[in-house]
Symmetry: C3
Subunit: 205 residues, 3 copies
């Protein structure tokens, strides 16, 4: 038996997978909240709990990173990956929060499509994270995320045009625009996650 003197810290893979699984939960709560007959207050509560759970996961990664034990890839990349996963959750949580705060009863249909893209992005991100260990088959993941981000952009632009179509008064446009922008920011953050994964893989190859 050979001893490895500086074992790489494999638990990072589990921590990232955990963090991404939490995004799946968050995206589903978002989908639930915007559905017709949602109990918005209850779903809002669960979203807040989900966001706190995400924060704890992020802090755990950062603490381990600061402990200066060996890391399986560049510290800067671990930092970026953890931060971007956290950014996704923050934006989804902020969108839920604004919907409640602004008492937005009716939401434009386009938001459903926006959230569906986020759900799919969360799922394939959660599936990809454990594959960081073997670096296997990750290109498929970041290519699909890039496609999803392009789709999200299209939906977002159509939503903006719709908001200014004359159907809504100025104050309602401002409120809806805030929500729609948070969701677009979440889609962007999923792309940052994928960019970091690509960068990690390319460095190792």
């Amino acid at each position: 038996m050979r001893l490895r003197l500086r074992p790489r810290d494999d638990s990072y893979y589990e921590m990232f997978a955990d963090s991404a699984n939490n995004l799946v939960t968050g995206a589903r709560l978002l989908a639930e909240l915007i559905s017709e007959d949602a109990d918005r207050e209850a779903v809002g509560e669960r979203m807040r709990a989900c966001e706190h759970a995400g924060d704890e996961r992020t802090h755990a990664i950062m603490r381990r990173l600061n402990s200066k034990t060996a890391t399986p890839f560049d510290r800067e990349d671990i930092y970026r990956l953890a931060s971007s996963l956290d950014d996704v959750m923050d934006s989804m949580d902020a969108a839920v929060d604004l919907i409640g705060l602004y008492r937005l009863e009716r939401l434009p249909k386009g938001i459903i499509a926006q959230v569906e893209v986020l759900e799919r992005a969360a799922e394939i991100t959660a599936e990809a994270m454990p594959r960081l260990r073997t670096m296997d088959d990750l290109a498929r993941y970041w290519i699909e995320i890039n496609q999803l981000e392009n789709q999200a952009d299209q939906i977002y632009r159509r939503l903006l045009a719709h908001l200014f179509s004359g159907e809504y008064d100025a104050l309602t446009v401002m409120k809806l625009k805030d929500v729609v922008e948070e969701l677009e920011t979440a889609a962007d953050a999923f792309e940052h996650v994928a960019n970091t994964v690509e960068s990690i893989v390319v460095k190792k190859s």
Copy 2:
């Protein structure tokens, strides 16, 4: 007498303390500006001078960092700390600027509470910076900053709800929202400062 061949550059502590003390001045000017009978033009002038002084402090830190002399902690952390301190000042200065530019005579009461949180955050940040030398008693600081940031969030959300309560026309909402968002960004930047301090301390322990 023992010679230390690579003396750490202690002046960083003074530079950070200096930068944070400047934020105390800035936060107090902000409080003065939003008080009932302020000479807004005069206070605006002093704020601009304060922001320039802050810029010079930031550049001095960056210059020293670029000089490649030894640093008391990770270069990346020094960079982040200096940048976040600068971000706080930029947001406070932008808020003052917008109040003047938009000729906002009446401000909602909630803004006073927002600024009070910034004043307190500036004070405890300025007190904490010199303790970076000994790393003493810093947890107390970042815990209070996190509490202040939560408070700031609450106040910000209440202000948003108030802005859309029907009391203001759409153009006024847009103007006030810009100001309120800059102040919220300043509170977030104080938290970034504290996160960086926490990360520095954890690495050294």
Copy 3:
């Protein structure tokens, strides 16, 4: 003949120059688009192509950076430089996109001045990039960029005041503000490019 064992990778200079030259093209397209009798659809198409070309250049730099071959300056600085050049293009492209999306027929005159500053900034940035090889005469460049950014700030603030002057309804203000803010973000990104160049030069001196 002396062999250099780890030759620095000189092609970075060409890649940055290439990326900055693409910004000159983008800024000129922006100027064309806002001119009186522009064929906005055709110019919009060319802007999209220009943005894609920029993306490819950025990816090429990032790929080389990830390949772990020797770099002529700090990896982090190369990363920052490439990212900021990309940010400029993204903001100029977003501005063009919004003008089309919002069907903004009439634009305020101030936008012409804003775009002129961007054109000049793009030109001197493109001129400066090849000088990174010799580090020659770069202070002149970053000083002018800082002046241009101050000018851009002034123009931006005057535009904001103009938008809220009462001439426009709230929805139009929201649309124009989005465009004007993207252009201001582009000017800021040019300053980030210059700051990174300054930091590279200072480290080498």
